[in-house]
Chain length 202, copies 2
DNA sequence: CTTCGTAGGAGTACAACGTACGCCTACGAA
DNA sequence: TTCGTAGGCGTACGTTGTACTCCTACGAAG
């Protein structure tokens, strides 16, 4: 066996994530990542076969830091909420990569582990068969949507101010946007999830 | 005023949507759309300033067909559900363009109109201030996540079969995937939304 | 210590993309 | 009939992902 690899896939993923964190998802390029590592562009292809695979590595790096062991809490609702909050926190640290989560949610072990953890809680709570399917999908849909909305949403963030200004055309939207200023992303996420959990029954 | 335009923006959007419906979002290109219209590539720039604007036109075309007048139904929950179902139906007809919905959800009149309609229902139901913010965001998050999940999700569609096969590593995921086979996207969407609505109280 | 084969690193090159620029020309107003 | 404006489009450039090919560093074998 000649020559040892000078890079681990983790280092590669970390470099890509650094680029995304610093300059945004739009500049995530084989060339920019290679520059970040002081390597030739084509050298990256010794570690990944694709740009897609590079993106998957980023997703795995972010989700890899999440603890998916089911927390020891009194109610299953709290267990679900704690799991979701862990995910939200991990993603919140790298908001620019959220779109990657959605694109690669298929073939990502991290996403699967998270699903497995949530399902085990639901199963323990007594959800079976199609009820469990519905409940799980509802949770995942909310999670995905909320993460996506957090960084870019029209209510929190920069979009809020824009919406607040066109009050005559969309009065409710404008009024709600003003109220939204006092709501942190964390509260928004947590209390929205709580609403969903209230409606869930095995 | 010399020369009349030979194209309406609707026709342009329709051509782009046709390309997306037929060959997928990946081949949506200024060149492919131009070919679809038997025009030169650069001619499109007489109608849109950007590729982004072209994508926005597609979003508007899809959402433009949705009726956002609040339906006359007994409960506000049913009114919300009906609005969401209308959106789901419109999007369901063009599943490949869902990612565009998310990217352009900011500057899209259609998205704003939908938000305004939902908020008016919530307001009529007695939601005010931050409670309305939370409720609205929860609904939007679910809607976005569910639409996204519908076409590509790991539970319905092709991903289901894959998941069902790796049972030893993700037992719950595999079992749930099998149960998911009997659940149509429509039921999944509607019943998941019902769960969320059950937890909503002004 | 020398030698050798394997695999890592990188330069070149190409197709496809978005789009700036500038030309030609069709057509409504005069 | 003429003219200026604006529609249509060909060309070309920078950027992207990546196939191909070469050179070379290095662990194992002698």
């Amino acid at each position: 066996m000649p020559r040892k690899r000078s890079l681990t896939t983790d280092q590669l993923a970390a470099a890509a994530l650094a680029v995304v964190d610093r300059d945004g998802l739009a500049v995530l390029t084989m060339r920019t990542v290679a520059q970040e590592l002081n390597m030739g562009t084509m050298s990256l292809y010794r570690y990944v076969s694709d740009r897609e695979q590079l993106e998957r590595l980023v997703v795995e790096l972010v989700l890899g830091g999440v603890d998916f062991t089911v927390p020891d809490l009194p109610t299953w609702q709290e267990r679900i909420a704690a799991l979701c909050e862990r995910i939200r926190l991990a993603v919140h640290a790298h908001p620019a990569m959220v779109p990657l989560l959605l694109v690669h949610r298929h073939a990502s072990p991290g996403v699967r582990r998270s699903g497995e953890a949530m399902l085990s809680v639901l199963a323990g709570a007594g959800f079976t068969g199609e009820r469990r399917v519905i409940a799980f999908r509802a949770l995942v849909s909310y999670l995905i949507g909320a993460l996506q909305a957090e960084g870019l949403g029209p209510l929190s963030g920069a979009g809020t101010d824009v919406l607040a200004t066109l009050g005559e055309q969309y009065p409710y939207l404008a009024e709600t946007a003003v109220s939204a200023r006092g709501v942190t992303p964390q509260r928004e996420f947590g209390e929205g999830l709580a609403l969903l959990l209230r409606g869930l029954t095995p």
